[in-house]
Amino acid sequence: MLVNPIKRAYLALESWFNISFGTEWNPLYHLGTLSFFLFWIILVSGIYLFIPFHGSLAGAYESVEYITHDQWYAAGVMRSLHRYASDAVVITVLLHMFKEFASDRHRGFRWFSWVTGVPNLWMIVALGITGYWLVWDELAQYVAIGSARLMDALPLFPGTMTRNFVAGEMTDRFFILIEFLHLLGQPIILVFMLWIHVKRISNVEINPPRGLAVGTFIALLALSLFKPALSHAPADLSTVPQELNIDWFYLNVYPLLDYWTEGQTWILTISITLLLMILPWLPPKKDGPKAVVDLDHCNGCGLCFEDCPFDAISVQARTDGARFDEEVVVHPEMCAACGICAGSCPSSNPFRSSKTELKTGIDMPQLTVDEMRTKTGEAITALDGDTKILIFGCEHGLNVNRLDRNDTKGIRLICSGMLPPTLVEYALKKGADGVMVTGCRHNDCFYRFGNRWLKMRFAGDRKPILRGRADRNRICVHGGSETDKKEIEKDLNAFRAELVKLNQADVTSSDKLN
């Protein structure tokens, strides 16, 4: 099967991290939370640095020198942590964007998160730029003049900002304004923008796994001790620095000003921003039909509301006069059409209405629970051999029909999370020797929580649970992407061998009983 080269490159990187970190600590699965963790480091170190920092033109440089050299063991380390964690954020945010783009998680219903995410990157860069001003060294001078030139080129500004940076013109008032922006204004705006960015997802996590956080912190601390952040010579507005070691994560736009006009630099920056923002529509992606609530079969239990990864379901007071207090409502504009809600609905029980169409409280028009039950029955009937295995797979992982053979049949679902646990029990009861479920790689569900909820339901940790009567030895869950066919086949063969042993053991025990 053809996988686009960008996605293949991403999956290769992901595989490498899975080998070294495992799926629980894989940093690519925690780029958002890792960025939050880095923000914590930046915040704490920033508060510490604020104490000895002198917020004036005359005192800023000296105070930063004191921080760096006199108190190198505490404030100096904090300064380095502050800088390197800020640099790390740019990497994690860019990787986050690359991941979402490579795995096609930026289009369709996800447009909102993508579009609101792009300005966050610029706000982070702006925050870093004002941070560099505060050192008031030659680099700060270079950044200040470059920024002022860019600002002056905008029609919104009177065009006089650059003149602040000629000898004798710069005042403490302007410096304090930048300090205020860096310490308070920009961080508050960034927090607000991040809040908007995650508005359309539920169960937002902000803390990475402890192991990943500890590892990242130790690495940053080691770098801070090995290569402490240093200043350039103090700013002198009557001279021009001849050579500068710039931070390319934040200041990459400034060298362009040596070759281009301010207007051309703005055009490039705005064009990149616009291109990034319209990516969700290049080309547009049509989501499947949205989830539909059937109040006749909904008791308002709220399990779908709790499981929806995109906050597309809410609970409200009953409107149909039924004896239940509440009912659920789907908000189509936010619905990902993943079907996880159908898998969470207790009414999605194939043992119900065995002779008639199975109706459930919340269902997907493109693949109803009734159709899933029918397909399961048909697949089991078609199975032939000693070990009849039914494989449920999702649309975003390996196409399970590629594993079909006489004794193995695959059924494709929208997401593995839409599989009601009772359907597994149903398949085993109807004659399958084993049921395998494969979806996206563990912790990397296309719909965020599908395979996680599935595992928790099977383990009895989340409702609706897989009942105790379902033989766990005959159930196998494997997370894998479309490039993991070999690994899935390896697991499938091992599962098949296990089932042969189980079948033989069952025959022996039934012989003994006879």
Partner: protein, 170 residues
């Protein structure tokens, strides 16, 4: 691939990954360096604000015209707000380094013109000549300046304009 039994190997691989991550940060946080000026270069900067002369002179109103105005708006002169564009030419050793006609900003074109130019020049001795025309009512340049200058490497030669003193080098 590596289960719990291979924890040491997994930690080793993690350390390797963290090292790559930190190496990336360490390198791009300061490198590659950029050269702003060559060893023998300096910078000349023209930076000042200047209001051009009125485009049209003030006109004395006649009694008839004054009588037509409401009493609280009767001023003896009518002064159109629009200012002249400011034309500046700067040359170094006979070579033009800056030549612009700057329109006054504002809805009524009555604002102060912002002049900012910064360019690299070779350090050493030069002959600097600056001319400014700030009135459309006068022929030719209204302000001129000529001076032999010596600029040291990496220094900024700042040219300012003071309405009383004319062009000033700082």
């Amino acid at each position: 691939m590596f289960g719990h039994q291979n924890k040491p190997l997994r930690y080793l691989l993690q350390a390797f990954n963290y090292t790559i991550f930190m190496a990336l940060i360490w390198y791009f946080a300061t490198s590659p360096s950029i050269r702003i000026l060559a060893e023998d270069e300096a910078v000349i900067t023209l930076a000042f604000g200047h209001v051009g002369e009125l485009r049209e002179p003030c006109r004395k109103l006649s009694y008839e015209e004054l009588a037509k105005l409401p009493p609280n708006m009767r001023k003896p002169e009518d002064c159109p707000r629009e200012r002249s564009p400011v034309v500046i030419e700067a040359s170094l050793d006979g070579n033009t380094i800056y030549n612009k006609s700057l329109q006054p900003p504002g809805l009524f074109r009555d604002g102060s013109v912002n002049v900012y130019f910064s360019g690299k020049i070779p350090a050493g001795n030069h002959h600097l000549e600056i001319k400014m025309d700030d009135s459309v009512r006068n022929e030719g340049f209204d302000h001129t300046f000529e001076q032999d200058i010596n600029v040291k490497p990496a220094r900024i030669l700042l040219v300012n304009f003071d309405s009383q003193k004319g062009f000033v080098i700082q």
